[in-house]
Amino acid sequence: MDQTAGAGQWQFTGGYGKPYDWAFKAGTHAEAYEFPFEYDHKSYVVWMWKGEYWNMGDGAEIEFLRQDVPLAKAGPWWKADPSDPNLPKLTETLSDKSSPIASFAPDRAQVWTGSWNENKFDPVSDLKVRATAAFGNAEMFKAFKKTEEDVVGNPWHFNSDTKTATINY
């Protein structure tokens, strides 16, 4: 069964940080990626990971988080703010070696989306994710695009017409 989720109150209250990932992934195998950028003197990060959700099966997440300081002053703890007017719409599709096994494309922008398949237990190397971030704020999209295009190994593809960034990993 394909399961999906959005962020709950716990994340809005507590935020999100690598310590959480470390604890959650201690008993499993997962890959995680962080793409920070700065816009309007604030730091943002697109944070994602895929792997085994312990006994919940194969899963993946994409998140959009903020710190109210420039990147040079950002720390390890990020704020999840569902009222942030700059939130992009996030979508993701998780596939095994042959076909999609879980996906989530909520109608509204939100800080966190996750999807998993409780019947699948594949090695993380067999899992592929296609994720998108559709920005409502054109200037923020430009800031993210400009940053990523200057960083070695940039994996993002940008559609300036739809203000959408797409990643396959």
Binding site: A23, Y33, N55, V152
Partner: protein
């Protein structure tokens, strides 16, 4: 080993508790590498700047991982070229961003940094990028340190007049961010000609 349905339910509940516990976790470090990736990249950048200041090719090459030194086509020429970009040895630098990738397995971790800086030296501005593995316990323990390093004059235009991508940006895009065993060509970027 698969866990029973009841066990699975309990574990799922445990996961939810763990998820919920996020709200209770204070800012700080639980894992060995949970400090900011930008700080780690800045430390490596400081070492690069120190090698540039002293025009020390040995020190610069020494920042590379054993795997990168083994695989780099011509690290000696690369180091000589890189240092020649900064004749006075003086530079100031500012981070653009540092992306990061993690592979976590049974509490072991590989961390890969993709760092971009704007560098000012001798009245000119440059883009400086590097790939660095601060820790690599999952994928390749011999690959800890710098993996790739490049510098080029700063420009906002990534394409030449004929529509082709400029060589430095071809190099930037030649690396695979999700391949932690062989992300691309190790060593130092040297423009052709």
């Amino acid at each position: 080993m698969k866990i029973s349905r009841v066990g699975g339910a309990l574990l799922t509940l445990g996961c939810l508790v763990l998820l919920s516990s996020c709200a209770l976790v204070p800012s700080g470090s639980l894992g060995p590498n949970s400090d900011n990736p930008q700080r780690k990249a800045d430390l490596q950048m400081q070492r690069i700047a120190a090698a540039v200041k002293d025009h020390d090719a040995v020190a610069l090459k020494g920042l590379f991982s054993p795997r990168a030194r083994e695989n780099a086509a011509d690290l000696d020429s690369g180091a000589d070229y890189f240092l020649s970009v900064f004749p006075s040895g003086r530079m100031t630098w500012k981070s653009v961003a540092t992306n990061s990738a993690y592979d976590v397995k049974s509490s072991k971790e590989t961390e890969e940094l993709f760092a971009a800086y704007t560098v000012r030296a001798d009245g000119r501005e440059y883009s400086l990028d590097f790939i660095d593995f601060p820790v690599n316990d999952v994928d390749d323990p011999k690959n800890v340190g710098l993996y790739a390093l490049g510098v080029a004059p700063y420009t906002t235009e990534h394409y030449a007049a004929d529509g082709t991508k400029k060589p430095f940006y071809v190099w930037l895009n030649s690396f695979q961010f999700d391949n932690k065993t062989n992300p691309g060509r190790a060593g130092i970027y040297v423009p052709e000609n």
